[in-house]
Symmetry: C2
Subunit: 303 residues, 2 copies
Amino acid sequence: MYTAGMIGDERFAGIELGGTKIVCGVATGAGEVIQRTSIPTRGPAETLDDIRAWLEPRLNDTAGVGVASFGPVYIDPTSPRYGHIGTTPKIAWRDFDLVGEIGKWAPLPLAIDTDVNAAALAEIRWGAAKGHDNVVYVTVGTGIGGGIVTNGRAVHGLMHPEIGHMMPRRVSDDDFEGECPYHGDCFEGLAAGPAIKARWGKPLNELPAGHAAFAMEADYLGQLAVNLLLTASPTKLIFGGGVMNVGALLPMIREAAAGYLNDYLDFSALATGPEELIVTPGLESNAGLLGAVALAIGASSDD
Amino acid sequence: MYTAGMIGDERFAGIELGGTKIVCGVATGAGEVIQRTSIPTRGPAETLDDIRAWLEPRLNDTAGVGVASFGPVYIDPTSPRYGHIGTTPKIAWRDFDLVGEIGKWAPLPLAIDTDVNAAALAEIRWGAAKGHDNVVYVTVGTGIGGGIVTNGRAVHGLMHPEIGHMMPRRVSDDDFEGECPYHGDCFEGLAAGPAIKARWGKPLNELPAGHAAFAMEADYLGQLAVNLLLTASPTKLIFGGGVMNVGALLPMIREAAAGYLNDYLDFSALATGPEELIVTPGLESNAGLLGAVALAIGASSDD
């Protein structure tokens, strides 16, 4: 059990499991990364061998291990499949017992969550949502995913949030069929990076300012923001991911969301309104790894 | 501080504040209503006088008071407006300090929440969601509202969930303009009781089986179910309210939701699939009052 004062001095291990690479690292409880490495993602056995070779010798002076994983992943500790990967397109990883395998050589408090739930927790601990208990972290990149924290805890439930697969209202005159293999024109199918490229021939950052792609993207992400504000009721709604690197997009999303809300939400709890509510991440480099570290801190403390 | 064994024997007071009537009562921690009364809702001063006249003499042997209120209502204890009614069409109630006024004569642990968050907590304690930590309670009546519980606690955040005001995708050939004064054709504007009546001339329970109104209503509520499953990730999603009294509707909502999800969600954590996930309330008479009582129990214990 650690007090808040002690966490900053303690060390924690993090494993960020991505589709193309794994980032492993050791950081202080203050969010300072001491060592890190990057490993290409291949089949689970060889990838885990590499993770172990790097991390096991470094575990001696760490207080816990956090795993921030691509989804779907079973994160309910009461589930018989806890810590297993779910039905992913990466066939070799399906049903792989990630937590069980790591636990064999890491006899420490160990926590697993989605990469996006972990990112939300890291933003609360060190980033754009410091001091907030109700936070949503959205990533808009090759897919659209989201992590939700309510009352200070990540939402798990039946599986975990899969916000990118809600169905938006179609923007008028948009007849693009959508790219999601399950749902066609859900948010992910219409507004993730591959959909932008398929629709306009280029990613957003290669299109000229004022191109129709911006208003359409902002409309869909504004609708997504509204759905999140009216369900999870966050006081910080963070939009990250590669597509958000186009700086013009964020204010347009705020404007689209405000338009759909039509003064329905009371922003009086905020000093400055939607500018303060819908924001970009505070953590840049090491953001994914720090998500895993935030999970490790949660696993080894009561705070 | 009460243990689980003691709560059942203790008594708690509940106030269910509705738009047309107030129900006050005293119940045991086991959910048995001992006494209750109903008071017509008028202006706040005279209504509160009546509540006080009935409840104050009965507070001696109760351990706490719960208030389940129509919204919007400020339920964040750190807000300077905590316990106040928000911007409601009931002008006389706007900004009324409900908790402050009740606290003047009820020197007991006191909790306030929305009627729908309270209903979700009551269903967890005594109803259709016993033993569940992640539960959504939707009411479809004169409006569409919802309460969300994640990790065992009601979601508050910026305000509270307002799920009825998300925008569904329009059912093809539905050109009804919608009834919501803020959003026109949001879920509430298209699928609450008044919208059904305006569109078809009759409420659902007066239309013949097989009428197109059923499929359309199920489609909209199925979309709403999907949005809730993909955000709050509940293991019980409860649909209550007057419109749901038409028994044919629930299986049609399940079917519509499954169609939109298209096998995306893994129901393997459930024994029987969507039949077990999307359900009707377990509490019938006294449901609203028991919501308030559940808040009172939460206010006076740590469980």
